[in-house]
Amino acid sequence: MTEEGLSKIVRTVALLLTAPITVLGLYIIAHGHLTPGGGFQGGTVIATAIALMLVAFGSKRVKKAVGKEVLSATESLGLIAFIAIAFLGMGSTFFSNFLANAGGLLGMSIPSGANPGTINSAGTIPLMNFAVGIEVASALSLVLLLIYFSGEKEGKKGGGKK
């Protein structure tokens, strides 16, 4: 086989699976304030999509599609968004939830006790979930890419001095 990566069947299935995995991750992030889940969990799920691509296609093509510079930048951006939301709360204190119960964006109050829940609630929590989700997804993909890439390079050189 001239190309790196696995067979065509595996690659096609991996490509097909990537979309549902990403959607599932986004769902977990978006519903973090209603159901079990949140930014970290959803971000990890999204990163598994990258792991799948790495296995199926090999690191070279994945690196071409998502560069490490891009991942590093999105990681930083996610964190900056996170800390910026925290700073915005400084009207009262750092990390105060200034959007909750305030009407407007994400500001709906919810009835007390068991309820079906609405996604338009919980103030800054969903925003922070998204920020953290972006950060975690790109951080984990970056780590996978780094370790995978260095291992692949190692393989070509013949595995160090055995």
Binding site: P36, A114, N115, I147, E154
Partner: protein, 124 residues
């Protein structure tokens, strides 16, 4: 003794898991095995924290479609804080593992071995 043991089994198990991890860290010289040991220790502490917050016959601290009647009584739900602490510590142990594996890869790159005793150059 047996009664106490069976009552506190989750705590005892997590303590023992911690020690298994510690064993791997102390007695194994393979860097990957040491990383596994640390990861096991991290999981043990996570298990310990999550076990601390469980209340008998309680539900998860989530109100969405919860099986509750009327206003909530604090004893009906498991404690949310230990669960949040566990989330935090999971991510931290993940970060430690990632960094440790990166260092192991680099050590292999430099010395051609994963054995801590063969790769070791510093006397400490």
């Amino acid at each position: 003794m047996i009664a106490v043991l069976s009552q506190n089994l989750p705590f005892v198990v997590s303590a023992l898991l911690l020690l298994i991890g510690m064993y791997a860290l102390l007695f194994k010289s393979n860097l990957i095995k040491m990383a596994i040991g640390l990861s096991v220790m991290g999981s043990a502490v996570n298990l310990f924290l999550i076990a601390l917050g469980y209340r008998q016959d309680s539900i998860a601290p989530i109100f969405t479609n919860a099986p509750l009647v009327g206003a909530v009584n604090a004893a009906e739900m498991a404690m949310p804080v230990p669960q949040a602490l566990t989330l935090t510590s999971i991510v931290i142990s993940l970060a430690v593992t990632a960094l440790m594996l990166s260092l192991a890869v680099l050590t292999f790159r430099h010395t051609g071995t994963l054995d801590a005793e063969k790769a070791g150059r510093l006397k400490g």
